[in-house]
Symmetry: C2
Subunit: 338 residues, 2 copies
DNA sequence: TTGTACGCGTTATCAT
DNA sequence: ATGATAACGCGTACAA
């Protein structure tokens, strides 16, 4: 690997001059510029970004921490494609670090990215508690933004959706359609999102004066297969239901699959509701209605806010920037035209 | 950010000593070690990986180049989850760079990762030709492995599947089931994979002595909606078909969706075949059969081979390592248990 | 067992 | 317009 020094020798100039023509800063005569360009071409010179970043104290990269249990599935794809696309426009690079499967490992992933001198971090947490994150944010010098959690202290460092309310709205919509026996398939209950969506279900029943029956609740693990198993469990419990709410689309798909193979006509007798984690889902399974959960909006907002903090821009700029992008339309297909 | 020098001062020792206790290399007395540990804790010291990597000339990271047109969809998730999991076991980090949407940009992504001094690169190419890649591999010092393409020169730097043959097998299977009028939905024909799968279709018909009819071929663009549109085009062409092969699962899903809404009973009259890009697909749509395309196997093999080249290990070790992992089972659900 | 001093490849601040 | 030279933060022979 040719270094800047070798190029300098070959061109008969000093390192400084080469650096000048490469960066475009400072004056260089036309002829020496030519000589340098020539030498660069001859040596296949490529700059060492480690050295450069060490010198300028900035890497133009931002780090993303996600648990690998989310790696399979569309949720993750959405996250990645939107993040990469937005940062690409800003000339920044995304580095993904694996949050693995514990709070300690999520913490380690953050520190790893900071050790790499990422300019900022976005974490989509799974195991760290909000208090732990508040503490982390307070300690680190670089900005660490948290998606999908509501922090107690650093309000401007988190972007969240009201999962409980969204879930409650969905359930109330079913109730208002006349359903009174509504089954509910939870997500993993050790995840805040899972717990909040369940809480929304309970709140909706309470608000409409419908008694809660535990037999209508089955625990799932977010994936399709667990949705099917939960559905089987509900049926076996003997409790009839006229509608079913699954805590995400994958489980809803699993539920529909089970109902179908069990010869229960889905569209007629059972209405299944999922959450819009998978843009494709409604096209795949017509019987499925989905509530929109703004993953995309959240990550978009997080990146815009982070960039504003880094560039020292104002909040207005950040919001305008976020608003100027309508990423969702560009990725998810519109109403299905067949 | 505290540096190693500040820690050294605070502990009353030299940089070198601090470096020794941190890395574990070299002798240090028990008491000075304690003093250093204390100072490290007090200063919240974190090593600067840029400086370290610059010094040791190795980053323990490997780079992955993928076009962002693949970011949405399960193909990408599979790629990422398997890659990250394998590298995690080896204490290495994965850095993803966007290949964007042209050969030049794919080339730029490779160079960017090399400038960051990744120890090696894996590219899942979309626009670069095999000849361009052979040239790139020849020029760069670091190993660049190519997935899903057959290179002309650097045979040990590429991992590929015989897309044409796999496609032909699928079509022949349908023929042997008695089908003679088989529709085919292509992928994007500017992608080698799309072209090869179409070639397989044609070869299978030829081999079984069935005349090729262009009216039975419709062009798709890999996504579900284009699959539905292609199906509509086939129907409008007036050419009846008893079976349909789509060049990937997403389009197969779109096809089934169209047939269903058009009141054509899928399982009875039409057999739809996709390629197993989406592990979930067969569970989603019972009418869909899939041919297994080994994305997972390819990426697994690529990483194993790359690691072997980097660690200077033997090919036997690489193969044994690859074989020791049965990643697929751990991610894709087994036969659907409801 | 510990410290000195140099190298890693750039950028940036001085002079000249 | 160009060239020394000092950072940047860390690893590591080599000496002591």
């Amino acid at each position: 690997m040719a270094t800047i020094l070798e190029v300098a020798k070959r061109a008969g100039v000093s390192k400084a001059t080469v650096s000048r023509v490469l960066s475009g800063n400072g004056y260089v005569s036309h002829e020496t510029r030519e000589k340098v360009m020539q030498a660069v071409a001859e040596t296949d010179f490529r700059p060492n970004l480690l050295a450069r970043n060490l010198s300028v104290k900035s890497t133009q990269t931002i780090g993303l921490v996600v648990t690998n249990t989310l790696y399979s599935g569309n949720y993750f794809s959405e996250l990645m494609s939107h993040s990469a696309r937005m940062l690409e426009q800003q000339g920044r690079q995304l580095i993904l670090a694996d949050g693995k499967h514990s709070a300690a490992q999520e913490r380690a992933a953050i520190d790893f990215l900071l050790d790499l001198r990422c300019d900022g971090i976005i974490i989509y947490p799974r195991f760290l508690t909000v208090d732990e994150m508040d503490e982390i944010i307070a300690q680190r010098k670089q900005p660490v933004l948290v998606v999908n959690r509501r922090l107690r202290q650093h309000h401007s460092y988190c972007i969240y959706a009201d999962q409980k309310q969204i879930s409650a709205m969905a359930v109330k919509a079913l109730i208002d359609l006349g359903h009174r026996d509504i089954g509910f398939i939870t997500g993993s209950l050790d995840s805040p999102t899972g717990a909040e969506r369940l809480a929304g279900y309970k709140a909706a029943l309470h608000e409409r004066g419908i008694p809660l029956r535990e037999a209508l609740i089955a625990e799932g693990k977010w994936h399709a297969q667990s949705g099917a198993q939960a559905t089987a469990a509900l049926i076996n419990s003997g409790c009839a239901f006229s509608a079913l709410v699954a805590s995400n689309d994958e489980m809803a798909i699993g539920a529909i699959r089970h109902l179908t193979t069990a010869n229960i006509a889905v569209p007629k007798q059972v209405s299944v509701l999922g959450f819009d984690d998978i843009p494709l889902a409604p096209y795949i399974v017509p019987a499925l209605s989905s509530v929109r959960i703004p993953v995309t909006d959240m990550i978009q907002e997080a990146i815009a806010r982070l960039l504003a903090m880094l560039d020292g821009g104002s909040w207005q700029e950040a919001e305008a920037f976020a608003a100027s992008l309508s990423l969702r339309e560009s990725v998810a297909p519109g109403p299905f035209a067949s």
